[in-house]
Symmetry: C2
DNA sequence: CGAGACCTTGATGGCTATCAAGCCGAGTGG
DNA sequence: CCACTCGGCTTGATAGCCATCAAGGTCTCG
């Protein structure tokens, strides 16, 4: 089995730095198990019990929090190459759920083992932290969007970020990618109602900026849309600390 | 013992687990420098250049992002015992600023040295990650608040969280604490206008739930306010991974 | 063909921003 | 000592963004 190429952790961490043979070797010592899950199988409980986290290798997933009144806030969408379930493992968020959005393929590993590898090889720890930090930057930018951008700007920013992340993951182009979200998902992620999302999408389409149709996003005028959203992809860049 | 108490890192990490003598010894090897800063001295640039981060030991600070249109989103307020400047160091957020809100006392350290200590003693790394994860949980809860709670609920939640954090830091009681924020700060943190914050505060006061007056918060009916906000402090609990 | 999930559009209303004005207290300088 | 300024707080009036309610359309699938 050509385990090297199929090693999701190696692929993930090498995005943040060039890994040496020794580092790859160390990572290979972290047991990984590939799983395939379909839409109806929640991921929330999968990891919690046995301290397992995942790397998403195919498909989309999302994490969300349910409020007492039944409303839902989607915290983030996860695509190929993203960590999954790490946040809930490291911090005790109650009512944090993770669900596949499409059929997904994930690679499971023990968080303790990964950190053990990082302890043996500090550069690996640096890469792990870079991954965590990038996710945090995405969350912060999300917070800014909801807090201080109007609905059209917010929506525009959302699709621009997704495009940038998907292109980086080799899952499409930043201005044209498959997107399995419903308008209800977008609404719960962006803090809007689905009805209003619908109107905003129409407006963006009529303005020749962005078209969302049948699970596909076309960004018709990338520059104008970026300008509208105030989108600066700097926060998606990797950065390592030592 | 006295030495322990003067070591900000030891104090911080011991919140997440009981530290052994050997672990305290290792932490003592991380150089720390105490600084005092006043309101007009930004902290943003202080760390970036030389990879320094801080622990806030006295006073309040806050981090925020400036948008192109001049509006501001405050990401979080930091109080005694909190990490400061770690996020900007680990991830490349542009336009992320940190400012003291009062005169502050901070303990500076090199992030590389701290992680070095964590590499030598895995349990320390676990505590560091627990600290990072807690901050992340706070950010996520903030996101939920802005995305899916109305202005009164959001404001209530905000003061309840602050109270819980301050009490834990030994800076007051969860239902009565000093709070140097202006209504403009609250507005930019909560995604509202200062004018509306003012009206919400009046409403909460008239309902006998919470009083904010001259830099002091009184929570008049803790249970009712918690119920209104849907506040569940679970996300503030520490949690270690191994 | 019926059901269900999702999308679309119109009408209405409410929550919150914005504009405008004034108040208060603290610091400052004439 | 007192006007002056400035930051912060307060309140009223108006407007607009977006939620909600209602209804119907389209598509897929059993």
């Amino acid at each position: 089995m050509d385990q090297m190429h199929s090693n999701a952790l190696t692929q993930k961490l090498s995005k943040f730095m060039a890994l040496t043979a020794a580092e790859i070797e160390t990572l290979a010592g972290v047991a990984q198990r590939k799983l395939t899950l379909s839409t109806d199988q929640g991921l929330s409980q999968q990891g919690q019990a046995n301290s397992a986290a995942f790397i998403l290798t195919r498909g989309w997933a999302f994490s969300y929090i349910l409020l007492h009144d039944g409303s839902r806030q989607i915290v983030d969408f996860r695509v190929a190459g993203d960590f999954l379930g790490l946040r809930g493992l490291l911090s005790p968020m109650s009512d944090l759920f993770i669900e596949p959005l499409t059929d997904v393929e994930v690679t499971e590993f023990q968080i303790g083992e990964l950190l053990g590898a990082g302890t043996k090889v500090p550069r690996l720890m640096s890469a792990i932290l870079a991954g965590i930090a990038r996710d945090q930057a995405i969350t912060v930018e999300h917070l800014v969007s909801i807090g201080r951008r109007g609905a059209p700007e917010r929506t525009a920013h959302f699709f621009l970020e997704l495009g940038a992340r998907l292109e980086e993951a080799g899952q499409g182009r930043k201005d044209n990618y498959a997107c399995p979200l419903t308008q209800y998902h977008m609404a719960d992620a962006l803090g809007l109602s689905a009805i209003h999302i619908n109107r905003v999408l129409r407006e963006l389409r009529e303005d020749g900026l962005l078209t969302f149709r049948k699970g596909e996003v076309f960004i018709d005028d990338y520059d104008q849309l970026s300008k509208l959203a105030g989108f600066d992809p700097g926060y998606l860049r990797a950065k390592t600390v030592f």
